[in-house]
C-alpha cells in the first residue's frame, strides 16, 4: 500500500512525544492549571490534517501515556482522547476547511468534551474532581490552537 507509506508518521510521533514532554514539564503551581493540554492539541492536529496516519490508535496510545505519567486510572485519558480523536477523524474534512478562528472554537468544544470525560471518570472512580481550575486549560488550549496548528503544520510537507 503505497498511500500508507507517504503518511507523515515520523513528524506525528515526534511532535506527540514533544507534547508529552511539555505536559510533564514541572511548572509553578499557579501556572499549572493554565497549561494547555498539549497532547490533545497535537493529536487533534494530526487527526485533522492526516487522519490516516495515526487515527484513533494515536489518541488511545497518547492517552494511555498521559495516564501513566499522571498516575491516573489506566484508560481514563485514553478513553477521553480516543473519543475526541474519533470525532476529529470523522469530521476532519469539515474542520480542515474552516478558518483558524472557527477551528479554535471547535477545539474549545473538543477540549471541553475531553475534560468532561476525564472529570466524569474521576467522579466515578472516587477521586476528588471538583475544582474550578481544571477547566481553565480548555480556554488556554483554544487560545493557543492557531499558534500550535501553525507550528505543527511546519513540521511536514503536505503532498
Amino acid at each position: 500500500m503505497s498511500a500508507r507509506d507517504r503518511q507523515p508518521r515520523t513528524p506525528m510521533l515526534l511532535t506527540t512525544l514533544a507534547a508529552l514532554v511539555l505536559t510533564v514539564l514541572p511548572l509553578p503551581a499557579w501556572l499549572d492549571d493554565a497549561r494547555p493540554a498539549f497532547v490533545v492539541l497535537a493529536v487533534l492536529f494530526w487527526s485533522i490534517t492526516a487522519p490516516r496516519a495515526g487515527g484513533i490508535a494515536l489518541g488511545f496510545v497518547a492517552g494511555l501515556m498521559i495516564d501513566v505519567f499522571e498516575g491516573t486510572v489506566l484508560g481514563q485519558h485514553a478513553l477521553a482522547l480516543s473519543f475526541v480523536t474519533y470525532i476529529a477523524v470523522r469530521e476532519h474534512q469539515k474542520i480542515r476547511s474552516k478558518p483558524l478562528f472557527q477551528q479554535a472554537l471547535i477545539v474549545f468544544g473538543a477540549l471541553f468534551v475531553y475534560e468532561f470525560i476525564v472529570f466524569a471518570i474521576d467522579g466515578w472512580s472516587g477521586h476528588p474532581a471538583m475544582t474550578a481550575g481544571r477547566w481553565l486549560h480548555v480556554a488556554t488550549g483554544a487560545l493557543v490552537w492557531p499558534l500550535a496548528a501553525a507550528l505543527l503544520g511546519r513540521t511536514y510537507e503536505p503532498r
Partner: protein, 350 residues
C-alpha cells in the same frame, strides 16, 4: 447520524473509525475496570512506569544541567561561606547528639529496660526528586529510587524537617510519592501540646493541610505542633508533620476549621529520605493489629483504678463489678500483693 458524511469510507482501508473507536473504548473501559478493582494491572503499570522513566529524565535534564553549571561556577567566596555555615551547623548538631545519647540512656532507665532501644530508623535512602506535580488535584513527587533499591509501596518518606508523604507506585528505578498535601492523602496526627488525636487531610496546596475532624470546642491553637500519632500503620509515632496556622470557630458549625502548614519543604525539596523502621521499636508503625501477646509489665506499676473509687464507697452503682479495669479481671491470678489489695478494695462497694 449527525457526523455522517465527513468520512469517506473507501475499500481496503480496514474497519471504519466508528468500529475502531468502539474497540478502543471497550479496551479503555476494561483497563479502568481492572486497574480500579484489585490492582490487576500492577505488573503492567510497573512496566509502563519503567518505559516512561527515560522521558521523565529528559524532561528534567535542562534543570539538572542548569544546576550543574551553577554549582561548577560557584565562586570561592560562596563556597567558603557555605563551608562556614555547614561547620557551624555540624557543631550544633554534634552538641545535640552528645545530649541525645545521654537522654536515650536515661529514657531507657526510666522505662525499666536493661538496654537502650535500638534507633527507630533502621536505615534510610536519599532519593533525588526527578519530577514534581503540584496541582490542586494531585500533589506528587517522582524520585529516582525504585524497587531495585528495595523501595516498597507504602513506605514513609521524610525530609530533614518533617514528614513528606509515602510511596504510592513503585517502578523499577523510580517511585511516585504521594505528598501529605495531596487531597487524597490523610495522615493520622496528634497535637503535641495536648495529645489530641485527629486526621490531617491534604488541601491540594503544598503549603496547607486541613484538620476537618476537630470539634469546635477542641483545644487547638495557632502555633500548635502536629506530630504523627503512629496509627494507620505507615508512619511511626512522633514525627513532626505541620504547625497549625489558622483556627476558625464558627458558632453555626459543629466542627472547627483548622489549617496547618507542613514543616517539610514539600515544594522546595530536591532530595527526600526513604526510611525503613526498626520493627521491634515501640514507636514503629504497627502494621498488624495489636493482639493479646503484649509483654506483661510490672503489676505494681499499673494504675490502680479501684483506689481512686475509694472516696465514694456508698454509691455502689457507679463502681459496678469493675470488670473494665484490667487488674480486677478474675482470670488474672492474684499473685502479687498489689493485685490482692486491689481486689480487696473492690469488694468493699459490692
Amino acid at each position: 447520524m449527525a457526523f455522517a458524511g465527513g468520512y469517506r469510507p473507501s475499500p481496503g482501508r480496514g474497519p471504519s473509525p466508528g468500529f475502531r473507536f468502539t474497540l478502543y473504548a471497550v479496551l479503555s473501559i476494561t483497563c479502568m475496570f481492572l486497574d480500579q478493582r484489585g490492582g490487576w494491572l500492577e505488573k503492567a503499570r510497573y512496566v509502563l512506569q519503567a518505559a516512561a522513566y527515560p522521558i521523565q529524565l529528559v524532561v528534567r535534564s535542562p534543570a539538572a544541567a542548569w544546576r550543574w553549571l551553577e554549582e561548577s561556577f560557584e565562586t570561592r567566596a560562596a563556597l567558603r561561606e557555605e563551608n562556614e555555615r555547614l561547620r557551624a551547623q555540624n557543631r550544633e548538631l554534634m552538641l545535640r547528639t552528645v545530649r541525645y545519647d545521654a537522654l536515650v540512656r536515661e529514657n531507657a532507665q526510666l522505662r525499666g529496660l536493661t538496654e537502650a532501644l535500638p534507633p527507630l530508623i533502621e536505615r534510610w535512602l536519599v532519593a533525588e526528586v526527578v519530577n514534581v506535580e503540584l496541582s490542586s488535584l494531585r500533589q506528587r513527587l517522582l524520585v529516582n529510587k525504585g524497587a531495585q533499591n528495595g523501595v516498597f509501596k507504602g513506605q514513609a518518606v521524610i525530609d530533614e524537617s518533617g514528614l513528606v508523604g509515602q510511596t504510592m507506585r513503585v517502578g523499577p528505578w523510580s517511585a511516585e510519592i504521594i505528598l501529605i498535601t495531596d487531597p487524597e492523602h490523610a495522615v493520622p496526627v496528634q497535637i503535641e501540646r495536648t495529645g489530641v488525636r485527629t486526621i490531617a487531610v491534604g488541601a491540594g496546596d503544598a503549603r496547607a493541610l486541613a484538620l476537618p475532624y476537630l470539634p469546635a470546642n477542641a483545644d487547638v491553637r495557632e502555633g500548635d505542633l502536629l506530630v504523627t500519632s503512629g496509627l494507620g500503620g505507615v508512619f511511626p509515632h512522633g514525627y513532626p508533620v505541620a504547625r497549625v496556622t489558622e483556627v476558625r470557630r464558627d458558632a453555626v458549625q459543629p466542627l472547627a476549621q483548622v489549617r496547618a502548614t507542613p514543616l517539610a519543604g514539600l515544594d522546595r525539596d530536591r532530595e527526600v529520605l526513604l526510611v525503613w523502621f526498626e520493627e521491634t521499636h515501640p514507636a514503629a508503625p504497627s502494621s498488624a493489629p495489636v493482639s493479646g501477646d503484649l509483654p506483661a509489665g510490672d503489676p505494681a506499676a499499673q494504675p490502680q483504678p479501684a483506689i481512686r473509687r475509694e472516696p465514694r464507697p456508698e454509691t455502689p452503682a457507679t463502681g459496678g463489678s469493675g470488670s473494665f479495669s484490667p487488674t480486677s479481671d478474675p482470670t488474672v491470678p492474684a499473685a502479687t500483693p498489689a493485685i490482692a489489695r486491689t481486689a480487696a478494695v473492690q469488694e468493699v462497694p459490692q
